[in-house]
């Protein structure tokens, strides 16, 4: 591959954080609270832990086939035809995921910022913008992640600072009043919020320092978990469990509750939204890039960039299928969940096991 097309460890870490955090952070607190009540933080922690084995598998695979991306070495491992089926499912997954993200994005923007703009226009412009980064190579994408990461951190800090005066942490009490059966359900909801880190299936092939890649990937998930935890603790501290369950996007509702002394700063949800657009951009960019890469591996082309633009109308069409926002979260959300389970859990595990067997045989 090209000489400078390399990803440093810090970039890998940033890439994992920015791709995981996206539209999920808006709805996660209320969907977790819905299942686990005020012990939702436990689900967020466990969900983060549950991701780690798959990060490990992906890293081990990356080590076995150094310098190759998942969608290429997969063919060697399970055979061309079977892997093409795998790749197609991956492709569908990324298309539906993008459609889901961009639809939620459009709905949020429409509700909070641009209530006169047609949804289609918001979605289309966002997709066009992301396709630009999607057409570039992995190095550009990881640089973008490193630039956007501070924005996420600053927002989280602002979020904490502004809400501290009105936080009531007794809302977290009583602790551990949960049904054990709820934990797996809560975890699966959380699991879905970490979706997006599959970008390392590609990024690991270009890693500069492959020895520390695993550590950096773990760190990435660790920081993501912390950001999710903070968001959950603040939303529940601010809203209380009953109101939290009722909100669709609790993180944004809180922003419009912020009140600083005097009339100077109020309604800062607009400011937050502007930064949040970048966060969503950082989630969608890598996803649309991956879509292009999968297509190029399916059709055995050298470049992926000309596949990106044709994907836009498909994603847009998919994103406009759900009739209402509640349908987006119920039906479309579930489809994404099942596909995510395949592409994060099932497919890498199968390929890992087969690869292990092959390695044994060749020894």
């Amino acid at each position: 591959m090209e000489k400078n097309n390399r990803v440093s460890n810090r970039q890998l870490q940033a890439l994992i954080i920015t791709t995981s955090i996206g539209v999920g952070i808006l709805s996660l607190p209320s969907s977790v609270a819905d299942i686990m009540g005020n012990t939702g933080w436990l689900a967020i922690l466990l969900g983060g832990l549950a991701i780690l084995p798959f990060i490990y598998i992906m890293n081990k695979l990356g080590e076995m086939y150094r310098g190759k991306i998942f969608y290429d070495y997969g063919k060697e491992v399970v055979g061309n035809i079977i892997f093409k089926i795998f790749s197609s499912i991956y492709l569908i997954y990324f298309l539906v995921l993008l459609a889901f993200i961009v639809r939620v994005f459009g709905e949020v923007i429409k509700a909070f910022l641009l209530d006169n703009t047609p949804l289609e226009v918001i979605i289309f412009t966002m997709l066009l913008a992301t396709s630009y980064i999607g057409r570039s190579n992995i190095e550009a994408i990881s640089r973008m992640a490193l630039i956007i990461l501070p924005i996420i951190i600053i927002i989280t800090i602002v979020f904490i600072l502004f809400s501290i005066p009105t936080l009531d942490f007794t809302n977290l009490l009583p602790v551990f009043q949960i049904n054990i059966k709820d934990i797996p359900r809560g975890m699966s909801t959380v699991f879905f919020s970490y979706v997006g880190f599959e970008i390392i299936l590609i990024a690991l092939a270009y890693i500069e320092d492959s020895e520390n890649a695993l550590k950096c990937s773990f760190n990435g998930i660790f920081y993501t978990t912390i950001i999710y935890l903070v968001t959950f603790l603040i939303t529940i501290g601010q809203l209380g469990i009953h109101e939290l369950k009722k909100q669709i996007w609790p993180s944004l509702s809180i922003m419009s509750e912020v009140e600083l002394p005097g009339f100077f700063i109020e309604n800062i949800d607009g400011m937050l939204m502007a930064a949040w657009v970048l966060i969503v951009f950082a989630t969608m960019g890598p996803a649309i890039y991956t879509g292009g890469v999968i297509l190029s591996s399916l059709f055995d082309t050298k470049k992926h960039d000309f596949f990106v633009l044709p994907m836009i109308p498909i994603i847009m069409g998919l994103s406009l299928i759900p009739e209402s926002l509640s349908q987006v979260y119920s039906t479309m959300g579930n489809i994404v969940k099942y596909l995510a389970v395949f592409s994060i859990v099932i497919a890498p595990t199968i390929i890992f096991i087969v690869a292990l067997f092959k390695e044994r045989k060749s020894l």
Binding site: A111, L173, P174, L239, E243, E266, N267
Partner: protein, 375 residues
């Protein structure tokens, strides 16, 4: 040829680059600062709600302005509260803008119909344009009478009400309540309070509170009662309490207030201790030639009297809540559910019946730290 096409293309593209073609300038917007919601009583007009919108006359804010009217008040009768702003567009040249609404005043009559209140609260919660921290005030009488009052210092009634509400540094005669907290209270303990506005001739006063239970108005709290209730929650920033010492009134200013609750069970009763701790200083006593207040024994007596004062008054209020209103405005249920979840499992279901039977003891601990400048 190609060159010309390019030039034409560039010229065409400039038409796309003009931003903000549909911008709404700030003076083209009507910033509604206060909304009043009443029940419609005029049988001639169809509709259930009487909406009152107040917004400043921006032209009159300028110095030496010839415009006299500082604010406009528009009223309309509508079938649903959120229809009001649309209805008004038939009478106004600019759209109403709610992002800076500070206060919502709800009329007394409306609060007697919980279904309608639920409708309004749900609408307020859903609307992304309305700040969730908007202050809620209950009008004793009509909301429109409150909003029609001419105010002197602040030009706009919404801002006036808002700064009144933030005035808690002076007294706890009323406790400000915002939409978000009100909803939270009503969901957790089914009871909440909101400040009461009483219309007078040419003015109004904020005093006491309206007690809401299950989205319904069940009674009023007087201003002193409100300040004692605030004491029991540790919410007092500053207030004054009077007591007697040898036929002279002693005024004690509270400058710090902490309260906590302690719940314990004996055989068949739930006991709650409310511990109130206050710090403060003496404001006035009787002027005499000898030093009379700079004496430990004297201060001890005063502290005891003040403690009794608080315990007695709060006892009356608690009794009122337990027996008259049968509602837990002190947040005891919430406290038990958080800190004693096992107990709450047994009693949470019929808390409303259990609340009047529990024992509540008030322990006040008053400290007089300073006596002012004289001895």
């Amino acid at each position: 040829m190609k060159k010309y096409l390019m030039i034409v293309f560039i010229i065409l593209i400039t038409t796309l680059l003009t931003g903000c073609w549909d911008v709404v300038e700030i003076n083209e917007r009507i910033f509604v600062t206060a909304i009043g919601i009443d029940l419609n009583e005029d049988p001639n007009v169809e509709g259930e709600y009487l909406m009152t919108y107040v917004y400043p006359n921006i032209a009159s804010i300028k110095e030496n302005s010839s415009q006299k009217e500082a604010k406009f008040v528009k009223m309309t009768v509508v079938k649903s509260p959120f229809y009001g702003s649309r209805q008004l567009t038939t009478r106004l040249d600019k759209p109403l803008y709610f992002k800076h609404t500070k206060v919502i005043v709800i009329g007394e009559d409306l609060l007697k119909e919980p279904d309608k209140i639920k409708e309004i609260f749900d609408g307020l919660g859903r609307d992304p344009r309305i700040n969730r921290k908007v202050k809620i005030i209950v009008a004793q009488g009509k909301a429109k009478d409150i909003l029609n009052v001419k105010t002197e210092q602040e030009l706009v009634i919404g801002g006036y009400l808002n700064s009144m509400l933030q005035n808690k540094k002076v007294s706890a005669r009323f406790t400000e309540q915002n939409f978000s907290d009100l909803i939270k209270d009503l969901q957790i303990s089914k009871v909440s309070t909101a400040p009461r506005a009483v219309p007078k001739k040419d003015e109004f006063k904020l005093s006491g509170a309206a007690i809401l239970k299950d989205y319904k108005l069940i009674g009023w709290l007087g201003e002193m009662e409100n300040s004692f209730l605030a004491l029991s929650k540790g919410e007092v920033v500053s207030d004054i309490i009077n007591t007697y010492y040898e036929d002279t009134i002693i005024s004690y200013i509270i400058s710090n207030n902490i309260a906590n609750k302690n719940v314990y069970l004996d055989k068949d009763n739930i006991n709650v201790d409310i511990n109130i701790y206050t710090e403060g200083y003496l404001q006035e006593y009787k002027y005499e030639e000898d030093t009379n207040a700079f004496d430990e024994e004297f201060l001890q007596t005063v502290e005891n009297r003040l403690e009794n004062e608080i315990e007695e008054n709060l006892g009356k209020i608690i009794d009122m809540f337990q027996n008259k209103y049968r509602s837990d405005a002190l947040g005891i249920g919430e406290h038990i559910s958080k800190f004693h979840p096992r107990v709450w499992k047994d009693i949470g279901g019929n808390w409303e019946e259990i609340f009047p039977t529990i024992n509540i003891n008030v322990n006040a601990d008053v400290k007089v730290r300073r006596t002012g400048l004289t001895k």
